[in-house]
């Protein structure tokens, strides 16, 4: 039960840039407008990031993973609840793996 130096540095680095995004966004974007292309890229960044993260494991996970993703999307669309959606996704993968044995 301790905090190692390298882990602490990684956490501090994350905390610093995260606060910079929160506070710096307010301080900077209020004063200056970035170029239109940068603004548009900022709007696209989150969606593209999560797709880029999910694509390889979904491809590797084959059919059960696709069942899971479908369940997550359906629950999110109808209930808008991340917690329930995660549970539904895990349950669907479980069922898929069991059914495809």
């Amino acid at each position: 039960m301790e905090i190692r130096g390298d882990v602490l540095l990684a956490i501090l680095g994350m905390a610093l840039v995260t606060y910079a995004c929160r506070a710096g966004g307010y301080a900077v974007l209020r004063a200056v407008r970035p170029p239109a292309f940068v603004e548009a890229m900022l709007r696209h960044l989150p969606g593209c990031l999560f797709v880029a993260y999910c694509a390889p494991p979904l491809l590797a996970g084959a059919l059960p993973a696709w069942f899971g993703a479908l369940a997550v999307v359906l629950v999110q669309v109808y209930l808008r609840n991340i917690g329930v959606a995660i549970c539904a996704g895990v349950a669907a993968v479980w069922l898929g793996q069991w059914a495809l044995g």
């Binding site: 390298d6 956490i11 840039v17 995260t18 929160r22 966004g25 307010y26 989150p46 694509a55 808008r80």
Partner: protein, 240 residues
């Protein structure tokens, strides 16, 4: 007019915000537990996991960084990944300017420190209904922060009690979390389809090409976002 527009910051507003955050706790519990279990699986100690949650306080960024986690800790990769995920919060602060501009000192910079997607969404709704107590935003943020730190801590404790074998469906939870974040981000096929497809394909191609993490992620993200920005600006040019 000026009286009606007056922005306040009261204890009552903070408490009302904290109460408004309570229903959202239910949604955060599994997500926080996932982070806690994952942190434990990646070898972080209880204190490290709780410290990360307390001072970073950004679920998607923590999830992504923990997925990329190595020993020794990937200091640069973690910092870059957190920045890329959280840059989405930059426009939120700017959008909250009507409230934030009236605050000074810790009220301003402390409120910004607790800004998350949910508190932003609730505060926008509150603003549209004529709310003018900026304490509400801090109240929601702090309320969710408490829930977040507790859930991650519990997840870490639970994770060290139960060992989950590799390939277990539970590991799908982190992919599921990202897929569920994607749903509200979808703005329709015209805006998002092509950038998302490119982001996914480039990420897969870069991974197949053997590029080390987090390079496939960054290549995919920036390729997709650049295409999205280009399409958006080109469309604007054609429309006029």
């Amino acid at each position: 007019m000026s009286e009606r527009m007056k922005i306040t910051f009261t204890r009552h507003g903070v408490l009302r915000g904290a109460r408004a955050s309570l229903p959202l706790w239910i949604g955060m519990v599994p997500f926080g537990l996932v982070i806690g279990v994952l942190a434990d699986a990646k070898g972080l100690t209880f204190l490290e996991a709780v410290l990360m949650s307390a001072i970073v306080y950004a679920g998607a960024a923590q999830l992504l960084v923990l997925e990329l986690w190595t020993d020794p800790a990937p200091i640069l990769a973690a910092t870059i990944a957190a920045f890329v995920v959280n840059i989405r919060m930059a426009p939120m602060g700017a959008a909250m300017a009507p409230w934030l501009d009236k605050l000074r000192g810790w009220k301003l910079w402390g409120t910004l420190a607790t800004l998350v997607d949910h508190s932003f969404a609730l505060a926008v709704a509150e603003q549209r209904q004529g709310g003018r107590d900026a304490g509400y935003l801090l109240g929601v943020g702090v309320g969710l922060w408490v829930a977040w730190v507790i859930c991650v801590g519990l997840g870490h404790l639970g994770g060290s009690l139960v060992r989950v074998p590799p390939g277990h469906p539970l590991f799908f939870a982190s992919v599921a979390a990202f897929v569920s974040i994607l749903v509200p981000l979808w703005r329709g096929p015209r805006v998002d389809l092509a950038p998302w497809v490119v982001a996914g394909c480039v990420a897969i191609a870069a991974q197949r090409a053997g590029l080390p993490m987090p390079l496939p992620l960054l290549c995919g993200t920036f390729a997709g976002a650049a295409l999205g920005a280009w399409l958006e600006l080109r469309g604007r040019g054609v429309a006029r």
